[in-house]
Every structure is written in structure tokens, then in C-alpha cells.
Symmetry: C2
Subunit: 420 residues, 2 copies
């Protein structure tokens, strides 16, 4: 992040920054003569290609390409070494480019969290997509359209009601619903507990109730409880327990004569330091690791230099009477995640451990010194600072465009899908 | 909010809900044969016109048109009664339709918080736009383009540096920079304190340094400190103090021979219960009131029935072993605002004071009973609940489209501008 507040004094601002990238919603609602002055459509963001990060209008989400690529390659390599397939979750970045990196260019085998993501990736040629969300009743027809179009559109369920729903809509000839059973192995969000009396029965029903219509592909457990751990040993204990619970369930199924070819777990903390037992699984489904963030750094999932995201912001005012700077990054650019979980406030300021982001409103951030007086001379109005986000998924969700850079020079713009 | 979980049992889900609204980002990146399966562009959202709220795919942001209109009309009426101009802030909704309502159809005289908003509204024929943000150094040329194009594009500054910046770029002949001086009368965010030695000097410099290039239009103070108050009497005390500070400053300017035609304050709490002294101002700049929210209800700014926003969500799972429901509303649809500030968690569930939204992840919300056991029979999987957001600005910022309804029937789709 050289060039964007990485060291001492922030970089000066380039005057007359030119056209801006902004949401296409405005442009879509407009037309004709007024368009020239409208919020420029996203394609004009290409104006920024080749420019330095410190020239970008702020706030801006910067992605270090080499870091994201390295994170993606390391996870692929880690899974190769374990002998399991990596099926990356794309919810953190929601971009075609991010998913291409995460799949090592195959564009096959991803996890999505919304049907908007499913359609977006499917339309761009991605296939073998797992929609990892309790199957929503009102959206069955959309799921069926994806299942009939793709080689493999897979769904997830955790209740007999979910299976009954699928049975209402048999797919076109030659297609069957590809189903993962979601297990709750301690995370306490979605999923049926493998120890529940009904869990084996549900798996059997998925596999056997209507084999021409529905197939049991696998079982999956999201070990999101790793986010409540205090470090790598605890995370590995959760990963070990989750893996064992999933494998025990698959063994019990096999014992009962129910085939279940796939078994997976996921979460960036568990997959960043996998335990050997995970090699007995067939798939891993982490997502955040492509960017990482402060939360992951604190958990021990990554080193500080592995965090690919920054929110670039500029100093917009000095308020020495209260020992504060204002910057142009509020919660619309960073989110409120991490509040009161960091000694440096809502984020960390790269290269400036002496600063604390103590407050944010919609478009303003308030920075003060962790201790003592602020040296205002080091932060002239207009200088650029780089904030390291607490939660990459939440911060990325606030941005209509990501500025992807190599050593501080913008090399690509990524446009995420939004909505549901 | 009749029809969306307003009373007892949630409404059943309409099967096969049809095409979806989602971000146009995906569609923009795609083309040709694959487009049909892509995330549908926003214009196809018109499929939902005339449908009932309970048929919408969830999560969805619902705006009660009559409530928003009534909120807008009441604020206009309140300002007429005071004899001051209402210059509504559009940052809460960021939509052309919301701004048309808030200006009583004149489409003149608004406040924006970003240049993306400024361009969006300007392109749609809005004029007399105040960009109420410390003038950003790198964006001077964009401001100049707006100033030269509009009848009145007004800027705000709070430092001699801001004035020096403006002086670097004189406008085309016949145009002058229209400047508001931002005062900090206790809010402690942007602004120069009226008691600061330099405040009068700065106002004088704006007015007199280069009268052919720069004009002092007015002084403005955002009394955001009303959000830290414990009720209407405290809010009115802040409003009274802020008004007095602004008017005293204007009087001192006049005394010093510096003309300052306009004087304003703003914040939804202060403008919802204005004190008589505010009639001596010329403008008020509230914004949130068009939607209101739980925070405003708690502050006393509005009655519960004045809150126009709901996030519609569906039950996606029953987890009786931990006495929890899952719903399809995570922080991507609600934001994290309000966390630990409500007895009902992150939001209130309309018609269900017995429910508490205790946790959210990206796409999941966890509901449990405030006390005792949950009556799962009242909330079948697929039933719709309506969440009342804590902070309308933050929740609206998460949605690419707002479903505007009259008595539960969708009558319009509003598309907000995003980005910077």
C-alpha cells in the first residue's frame, strides 16, 4: 500500500481528479441531454486504469491484486496438499474476477449466498454452483431455472420441509435436484444437528424418497464458531470437532446404506490452518480468505501483510481544539463492523498505529491519537490514509466498484453483484 | 404494514415469485446470449408493480408511500408555519422520488452529502443544491462543473484552506462560488466554532476577499448532538442553543459590516419539534424525517406510525432446540446499526413485541423470544415478518431498490444513487 499513507506523511492529492465512478442506478434512471452531468456509468471508471491509488477519489475500496492472488493460490495449494477440493465461497467479493482467481481459473465449483449471486455467476459462465442457503419457499422456480440451465446447480436444506418443497417442482427430464444436507455441528445458525433423531432420517429421505428427482450429494457444516475462538489452537479444535462430526455422520449414513459422496466444512479461520483430519473430507468452502481483514489477523488466520483490502480516505479537516482529524470515510464506506473490538476503533490506519478511528457518521470519520496529542502537521488536509477494515465482507458490501491495484497502480476495476 | 406480518401469523408465501430485482452491476458486465439468466436489470423490477408486499422476494425494503408523503408534507407545513425555508437533505433516501416529495414537487433547494448525489439530482433537473461537506481538495473541478451548470450549486467550508482552494478555480464569467460557512455549535464534527477567534475573520474573508469570485451565502450548523439527547425537552434545548449561536454569529457579522443573508440549522430531531426561536433562521436542513426510524421514535421525533420503512423478511428455519427462528435478513439488508441499543435487538419486529433479533450474519438473522418459549406455530417457514429499522439512513443504504407501496400494494420502485 505504498503511496497511500503507508509510511509517514500522507500523499498529496492530485488536483482536478476528473470523472468519477458511481452507482449505475442514477444513470439508469436518466437519459438524453442530462446524461453528461449524471453520475457517470461504471464503464467510465476505466478512466482510473493506470492511475495511482493516491489520485483516486475517496472513499475508495482498494484491492491489492498480488495479495488477493497469493491468498487464492495458497488456499488452492493448501487444499491440493490435503487432497480435498476447494469450493470457494464468493460472498465476500461477489465479483467475477475474484471468483476466477479463487477457482484457479476453472470457473467451476463455487458457493453463493444469494440467488442474485447465483444468476450473476451463472450468466458469466460459472458452473457447479452451490446455493448454500436454506431453500427459500418463494424462490423455487428461480432455483429450478438455474438447475435446468447449469450442469450443476446445487441446493442446501436442513429440514423435511425443504425436501417437501423441492418435491413440488420436479426438474426437466434428465435433471435431478442436487442436494446438500446442512449440518449444525456447533455453530448454532442453520443446519440440523447430526445428533438429532431426525438427521439420519432426513438424509435418507433426500437420498431415497424420489431418486429420479432428488439426489443426496453431500453433507456440509459451516464452522462459523471459529470466529468466536481466541486463536489458532482453539480454531483447530473446532475444525477437528466439526470434521469428526461430519465424518461420523457420513459413516453412519454409509452404515445405513445411504450413499453420500461429498462431505465438507468451511470457514476461513479453519481452512487457513487446516488440521490433518480435514483431508478425509471432500470439499472445503471458505470465502473471506481472498481478502482477509483485521478480524482474521486477530484470529490468527493470516498475517497482516495478507490483508488485500484498504479503504482509502482523505483528511478533510483539522480540529485541534478536540485533538481530532476528520476523514471522508463514514459507515457508507467502511460499515460499522468491528466497533469497540479494536484498540484502534473501527479500523486500523495503515502505517499509523498512533491513530484511532473513534467515530463514524454517514460520510465522516473521526480520527484521534491513541494517546497524547495529534501531530496535525503529518496529516495535511487532502492527504490520503489507508484504513484496514475489520470485516472484509461487510466493507466490500458498501462499494459499487473495487479499485484493483498492483504496487499502487490501478490495473482493474471489479464490479460486485448486489441485491437478492 | 398490513399484510406483512402486521398481526399474528405471517402471510403465506406466493410460490413461483418470478423474476427478481437485483443490482445492475451484473447485467452491465454481461451481454448476448447469457443475459437472460443474468441478474435482471433494475427496469425489470417493474414486474413487481401492482403486487402485494407479501409476494416480494425477501429481504426487501418497503416504503409506505402515504407515510413518507405525510412526513414530507408535515415538515413542509412546519417550516411554512415557522416562516423558514425547508431545504431537505436527501442522503437518507438518495432517490429522485423522495426528493420530489420532500421539496413539495419544486425540485429546488436540497442538501446532498456526496458529489455522486449532486450529479444524480442535477442531471434529473434538480437545482439549488447545497453540497454540505467540507470541500474536498481533489474534487474541485467536479464542483466547478456543477457550479457552472446549475443556477445554484452551493458549497460549504469551515477553514481558510477551503477558501484558498476555491480561489484556485474561479468560475466562468457571471458565476461566483456560493459558500456556506459551517459552524460547529456543539456537535463536534465538522465546522468552525463561532467562538473561535478565526470564525468571524473566515466569514469576512469569504464575503470580501474576492467578491467577484466568491460570495458568502450563509452560515449553517448541523445539530447532530440532538441524537445524543434523552427526549424532546433536551432536543429542544440543543436546538435553542444552536439557533442562538448561529443567530448571534450572524448578528456579529452584521455588526462588522459583513452581509450574510442565510442562516440555517438541521437535524431531524430538532426540526421535528422546532422551538419558536428557529423562526428567526432562514432555512432548515433535516433529512431522515421522510422515513423516520426506531431511533427517531425513541428520541421522540415521531410516533411509531410515522416510520415509513420496513425490511421484509421470511422465516427460513425453525430451531426449537435453541428456541430460535432464522430469517433471511442479515446485515446486508438491515445494517448493524442499533446493535445493543434496543430491548428487541437490532430492530423491532412489527406486531411481534415478543420477538428479539439477537444476531445477524451476512444473510441470516436470528430471532428468539424476548422471554420464555417461542411459539413456532405462529411463524411457519416462509411466513413474512416486517422489521422496523433502527437507523433508516443505514438500512436504506443497503438496498439497490425500494419497493414503495400503498396499503401493501407495490405502486413504485425507487432506485437510489450510490457511491461517491
Amino acid at each position: 500500500m505504498d503511496g497511500a499513507g503507508g509510511g509517514g506523511r500522507g500523499a498529496p492529492v492530485a488536483p482536478g481528479a476528473g470523472p468519477r465512478v458511481s452507482s449505475p442506478a442514477g444513470a439508469a434512471a436518466l437519459g438524453g441531454e442530462t446524461e453528461a452531468l449524471a453520475t457517470e456509468p461504471q464503464q467510465q471508471g476505466s478512466t482510473w486504469l493506470g492511475r495511482r491509488l493516491e489520485e483516486l477519489p475517496t472513499p475508495a475500496l482498494a484491492v491489492a491484486e498480488a495479495t488477493a492472488r497469493r491468498n487464492a493460490e495458497r488456499m488452492l495449494e493448501r487444499c491440493r496438499a490435503l487432497g480435498v477440493r476447494l469450493r470457494p465461497h464468493v460472498k465476500t467479493h461477489k465479483t467475477l474476477e475474484g471468483a476466477a482467481l479463487a477457482t484457479g481459473g476453472t470457473r467451476r465449483g463455487i458457493v453463493v449466498s444469494t440467488l442474485a449471486e447465483a444468476r450473476f455467476f451463472a450468466a458469466a459462465g460459472f458452473d457447479d454452483i452451490l446455493y448454500a442457503y436454506p431453500l427459500p419457499a418463494g424462490r423455487l422456480e428461480e432455483c429450478a431455472a438455474l438447475a435446468e440451465r447449469l450442469d450443476a446447480f446445487q441446493v442446501l436444506l436442513d429440514s423435511p420441509g425443504g425436501l417437501a418443497l423441492l418435491r413440488q417442482r420436479p426438474l426437466a427430464p434428465g435433471k435431478r435436484w442436487l442436494v446438500w444436507l446442512k449440518l449444525d455441528c456447533g455453530n448454532a445458525r442453520a443446519g440440523i444437528r447430526p445428533t438429532d433423531a431426525g438427521a439420519l432420517e432426513l438424509a435418507r429421505a433426500i437420498a431415497e424418497e424420489a431418486p429420479a428427482e432428488v439426489t443426496l450429494v453431500g453433507v456440509y457444516a459451516h464452522c462459523g464458531d471459529t470466529y468466536r475462538c481466541g486463536g489458532v489452537p482453539e480454531i483447530q479444535a473446532v475444525a477437528r470437532a466439526t470434521t469428526a462430526a461430519v465424518l461420523d455422520f457420513v459413516a453412519a449414513l454409509r452404515q445405513a446404506g445411504v450413499p453420500c459422496p461429498q462431505a465438507g466444512i468451511g470457514s476461513t479461520p479453519s481452512c487457513s490452518h487446516p488440521v490433518p483430519e480435514m483431508s478425509q473430507l471432500t470439499e472445503l468452502h471458505p470465502g473471506n480468505y481472498i481478502f482477509y481483514d483485521l478480524q482474521q489477523t486477530l484470529l490468527g488466520s493470516c498475517r497482516p501483510e495478507d490483508v488485500a483490502l484498504r479503504v482509502l480516505t482523505r483528511v478533510v479537516g483539522h480540529y485541534p481544539h478536540r485533538n481530532q482529524l476528520l476523514v471522508d470515510c463514514g459507515w457508507t464506506a467502511l460499515s460499522l463492523h468491528g466497533q469497540s473490538q479494536l484498540p484502534t476503533g473501527f479500523a486500523a490506519v495503515e502505517g499509523h498505529p498512533e491513530l484511532r478511528l473513534v467515530g463514524m457518521t454517514q460520510e465522516h470519520g473521526q480520527l484521534e491519537a491513541v494517546a497524547g496529542s495529534l501531530d496535525f502537521g503529518r496529516f495535511p488536509v487532502g492527504s490520503v490514509l489507508a484504513l484496514i477494515p475489520f470485516h472484509a465482507c461487510a466493507t466490500a458490501a458498501m462499494h459499487p466498484v473495487y479499485y484493483v491495484h498492483t504496487e499502487g497502480k490501478v490495473v482493474a476495476l471489479w464490479h460486485p453483484v448486489r441485491g437478492w
